[in-house]
Each structure stands twice: as C-alpha cells, then as structure tokens.
Amino acid sequence: MDELNKTNRLTIAVIGIVLVIIIGLVTLRRPDIKYSLTPAESLALLNDPASVITPEKATALLKDSSGKTVFIDVRNSIAFDRGHIKNAVNIPVRELFAKKSMSAFRDIEKAGQTAVLYGETQQQANGPWFMLRQTGFKNVLLFTGSYTQLDIANSDSTTRFLPQLSETPLINTAALKAISTPVAGGKDIVKPAQKAKKAVAPVKKEASSGGGC
C-alpha cells in the first residue's frame, strides 16, 4: 500500500515536470525581429556607398523596367494617395515591422529584387532603412534625396533636378572667415578664438562690416 502511494506520487511528479517544460517551451516568446548587425557593424554600414541610391542612380532605375527594383514609399497613406512613384509600395514608417510589411520585404528578398526606400525627405526614409538593415535585410537601399526629387526625375527625364544632397555642407566658410575675422579680431570674443587668430591681419583695412544695432 505504502509502496503504491510512493509510485503514484512519483508518476505525478514526472508528469508535472514534463508539463512545466512543455508549457515553458510553448509560451517562450521568441521575438520575430532581431538585430543581426552589432552596433559597430551598423555604424560601418553608414559609410558604404553601395547601400544608398543617389538621385543620379535613381533616374536610371526609374527607366529600367526589368522589375529588379521595388520602390518603397515610407510616407503616410494620405501623402501616398496624393501621388507616388509608379509601382511603388506604401509602407508607412510605423507599420514597418508589421507582419504584412515584413512578409512583403521577405518576398522581395526571395525574388532577388532590391527595395529602394524613399520618403518626403531623405531623413524620413533613413530610419526605416537603417532598421531594416540592422535586422538583416541586405537588399534594402536608401534613396538620398526627397520624394520631390524622385518625382521630378520620374516625370521628366530631360529636366535636371537639383543634385544637391541633404548632407552637403552649404556654409561658405571662406567667405564667413573673411567677414567675421575683422570684428572677431578686434573684440573680446568668447569661443571661436582660434578662428580669429588665423587672419588677424586684415583688421585695419576692413572696418566696414561693423555691427550697428
């Protein structure tokens, strides 16, 4: 009798442990989206010219009808409905990791196509592009211009659109120095002292840039 009780308890213990393991395995949450690049690898990616599409390259891609390139519009659906690149797919930023979008990107990958992300500005497409790259999609490229630039290139290939990229330095530092130094040299200036030192000489001649109130 006692022996029987003991074996029964053992059976219950075995079943219990197995149950706990099964429940544990079933409910284990494995995140669908994981980083596949380390931060250092992601950082190195930013200097890779092969991961971006310049407006010049985009013009050629737009003419190309082989279907190798899929344009992805990351603007919201309202802006998309108002106008978009022909055959572009609309995946707004916030829906990027939704199941539907993810399967769309996987399909593109399987088909051996390349996805080119564009937004209202380069800045808008930059985040989604960077996230896709970090989570392991290698065939995703960033358009380094705005939607307007892409649209102009699309509608009229003879028109030369502004080739200017958003990260182009626009400040004419030489001109700035010429203007700022006379004053900076004469005044007790706080920070850009090193700038002032470089060209103190023209102080005498150039008093014209005076401040005024």
Partner: protein
C-alpha cells in the same frame, strides 16, 4: 531502484545539459527593434535651431551639443560650444564615456539631419537616454541664426521678436550680426554719413 526515479533523474539531467547549450543571453540593454522603430517614428527627438541657440546663449549647463561630422568640417565651421565626435568614432571608449553622462541633454548635429539621425539611432539602440537631434543641422542653424532674415513689415510681432533674438544670439556668438542682411545695409548707410575721412573708423562695434 524504481524506474520512475531513473526517468525523473533522466529528465533533470537532460534539462541541465540543455541549459549548458543554451545560447548566451544578450545581457546588454539594447532597445528592441520594435521599440526603436516607435522612437524613430516619434518626432520629439528633434530640437529646433532656435531652441538650442536659446539654451546656448543662456549657458545651459545640462546641454551638450555634439558635432558628428568629420574633424575637418568641424574645424572649418562649427556651432560655438559644440564638441566633435565624428560618427565613425561614436562607439569608441572615449566617446561612450562622454555620451553616457546621464544628466546631460546630448544634441547631435551634422550638416543636415541625416547623419546625426543615424548617430541618434545607434545611440538609442544602445540604450542611451536624453539624446536629441538638431533639426536641419548646421546648414539650417547657419541660415536661421547667422543669416537671419528680417521678416516683412506686416509680419506678426512674434516673427520680429524671433528675428531680434537671432540677431542678438549671433552677436553673442561672433561679436557681430555676421551676415544678417538688413542691419548691415543700415550700418553701411550710417557709416556713409558719420565717417570723417578716416576710414579707420573702428565702427565695428555696434552696441
């Protein structure tokens, strides 16, 4: 020996071996991709050039302006008071030490706001707090603060106040409203009437 004991022991040993071969758990406090995407979609990380200028003028001790452009670009022109951490060296030990100061508001800027936003994404992924991006970058800063445009006569009073603030900020940084178009003309005119042949004049002062 009861067979069930053996079974039980077998399960426990199998579990132990299983734990041994489990992949090392990611102990770093990385932001999960979904959360990071939500943060990217949220524009609150962008600070305007005027806000940052205001805080620079007020010498906000909790503000750190970080230039993520190359060293040569930083030397050519940078926002007064900014420090230079080129985007390439963002993960270096010295840069991490600076960026991990919890009590500071760290504002990234580049020429525009793409490189700085990329730097922001990397830092956000690594779990950093209180990081921001200057909207428009140094190009916009230059165009709004240094080359401040005078609003039209009929412009609302706020626009005029903003313009005066920009001129004053520029004067604070560089000693003169460098390129501000309209006041310069005014100053020139004044010079014509006041200058007494000396041309030395040293009229550079302003008030």
């Amino acid at each position: 020996m009861n067979k069930r004991y053996l079974l039980l022991a077998g399960i426990i040993i199998a579990l132990g071996v299983g734990i041994l071969f489990m992949p090392a758990k990611d102990t770093s406090k990385q932001t999960q991709p979904e959360l990071l995407l939500a943060a990217i979609d949220d524009p609150s990380r962008f600070l305007s050039t005027d806000d940052i200028t205001d805080r620079l003028v007020k010498k906000d001790p909790a503000l750190m302006v970080i230039d993520v452009r190359s060293e040569s670009q930083f030397k050519a022109f940078s926002i007064p008071g900014a420090i230079n951490i080129p985007a390439d060296s963002l993960l270096s030990a010295s840069a991490q030490e600076i960026l991990n100061q919890k009590e500071m508001d760290k504002v990234f800027y580049s020429n525009a706001d793409v490189t700085s936003d990329q730097a922001w994404i990397i830092c956000k992924r690594m779990g950093m707090q209180r990081i921001y991006v200057m909207q428009g970058g140094v190009n916009k800063w230059f165009n709004t603060i240094v080359k401040a445009e005078k609003p039209a006569e009929a412009a609302p009073i706020e626009a005029m106040e903003l313009y005066q603030f920009r001129i004053a900020a520029c004067q604070y940084f560089f000693g003169s409203p460098l390129m501000a178009s309209t006041p310069k003309v005014a100053a020139d005119k004044k010079k014509v009437s006041v200058v007494k042949k000396k041309s030395e004049a040293a009229s550079g002062g302003g008030c």
